[in-house]
């Protein structure tokens, strides 16, 4: 396997992935970051075989329930349209499902936000559903609860970090 190490003199680049966005990179100096994820979910995919990785930061489970918004214009806002869009874009960059490392963070809820109002939980179900169609499974996840999370992916090493304020960073 090709060794992808950050050169010591390289300037590290940080690229934010806002909600309803995805970023894909093969630049080993780049780190993708989805800041303060709430009920939405940040999904980091990395293929060490070809050094390509990306983060999708979607917000809602189902594009058919978004009255007043055209999902064709914002496919990355929803799990049902965003996950296929993201995964296919990575396939086009040479990603192979058998080599993928997959990390997911988010899906939080407001305290006592249960039943039909628990969008975080629905997001998680929709994500798993979307990934299953490509035989992709989540290797590491931090889902639910009432904390917001920051998820990052270092393209140079393929490692992901999940950060919750006041807690040690979890590196996977």
């Amino acid at each position: 396997m090709e060794q992808r190490q950050l050169k010591s003199n390289a300037v590290a680049m940080m690229t934010a992935v806002n909600f309803s966005e995805m970023k894909i990179s093969r630049n080993p100096a780049e780190t993708l970051v989805a800041f303060s994820i709430g009920s939405g979910i940040g999904v980091a995919l990395f293929d060490p075989g070809c050094g390509v990785g990306g983060i999708l930061n979607f917000m809602l489970p189902d594009s058919t329930r978004a009255a007043g918004v055209d999902p064709a214009k914002v496919p990355l806002m929803f799990a049902d349209t965003g996950v296929p869009f993201f995964v296919q874009a990575l396939f086009e960059q040479g990603m192979r499902p058998d080599r993928v490392k997959l990390v997911a963070a988010g899906g939080a809820h407001i305290m006592d936000q249960t039943g039909m109002f628990n969008i975080g939980q629905e997001n998680y179900a929709a994500l798993k559903n979307g990934l299953a169609k490509y035989d992709l499974t989540i290797q590491h996840e931090d889902i639910g609860g009432t904390s917001s999370r920051t998820l990052s992916l270092e393209i140079g090493t393929g490692s992901s970090c999940i950060k919750i304020f006041g807690q040690p960073e979890v590196k996977v």
């Binding site: 009920s39 189902d62 329930r65 009255a67 407001i110 305290m111 009432t146 917001s148």
Partner: protein, 282 residues
């Protein structure tokens, strides 16, 4: 527990909001006021006038001709937008600061504030509160002003607050009150009082997390609360407090909102966020 006098003494260290802001707000929601009265108020503040004209002539509004008077600005850009710009002009320097205790970087509280104000205005239109739209917008914009002061006290007590939130299931504002003796709602209301904001605005700020049962019957407070929740769920610069506030499904039921409606509103708010980002970059 902290000596509350130490906290309250900090109110005077905030950059004061010019009285003109409160006066314009009062006029904007008064159906009997005229545009002349409002523009008279603005032109007596030269710095505000200059800033307003600069922004109105910026590419953001892309107007067909140059605006050179406040009267023109109001008629071409619209009163809602002018009120918004006056508020931004008076408040952004306070809100732009980094807030260590809440885990918010520079400009992050401002971004959250502006976003929730826009969501609140959208909700005001949807739920028939257009009469008090400016009040709702303003309340959503400044509801967290108490955090500007409380941040450093939260930083010292974060461990204890965190235990109450994550082990005892208390909301962040209840935990603030229990540990520090005052929460950001109570402190925010004191700031608003010092700045001579209206009684109603003070009330909404004081109860925007709806801990008080009677506030759950007040439409303006409910809409500001809902806008805040939506921004937390969307993840617009939430900090150390995350989503650790109470959800009252009864309040949504009163507005005849079900789970699908909530998702629809979040989608619309997410779409509008692009516009908000442009505004924040001005």
């Amino acid at each position: 527990m902290t000596d509350l006098r130490d906290i309250i003494a900090q109110i005077d260290l905030l950059e004061p909001v010019p009285p003109v802001a409160a006066q314009i707000l009062a006029l904007a929601d008064d159906p009997n006021s005229s545009l002349t009265e409002i523009s008279e108020l603005i032109i007596h503040d030269p710095a505000l006038t200059a800033n307003l004209l600069k922004i109105c002539n910026s590419a953001f509004f892309s107007l067909s001709r140059r605006i050179d008077s406040v009267r023109d600005a109001i008629s071409l850009v619209g009163l809602d937008q002018i009120v918004e710009l006056v508020l931004f002009n008076s408040l952004s320097s306070n809100f732009n600061k980094e807030l260590v205790g809440y885990g918010l970087g520079e400009r992050e509280l401002w971004r959250h504030a502006v976003s929730s104000a826009h969501v609140a205005a959208m909700l005001a239109d949807r739920f028939g509160a257009s009469q008090t739209k400016h009040l709702i917008f303003t309340a959503a914009l400044i509801k967290d002003i108490g955090k500007l002061i409380l941040g450093r006290f939260v930083a010292f007590s974060y461990e204890q607050i965190n235990i109450l939130v994550h082990s005892k299931g208390q909301s962040f504002n209840d935990a603030e009150h229990a540990i520090i003796g005052m929460n950001h709602e109570e402190l925010g209301a004191l700031v608003a009082k010092r700045w001579n904001f209206s009684e109603k605005l003070i009330y909404v700020m004081r109860h925007h997390h709806l801990s008080d049962e009677s506030a759950r019957q007040d439409l303006e407070t409910v809409l500001v609360y809902l806008a805040d929740l939506i921004c937390m769920m969307m993840g617009v610069c939430t900090g150390a407090d995350g989503l650790s506030y109470r959800f009252y499904s009864d309040v949504l039921n009163q507005l005849s909102l079900n789970g699908n409606d909530l998702q629809g509103i979040i989608a619309e708010a997410g779409k509008n966020q692009q516009q908000v980002e442009v505004l924040l970059a001005l």
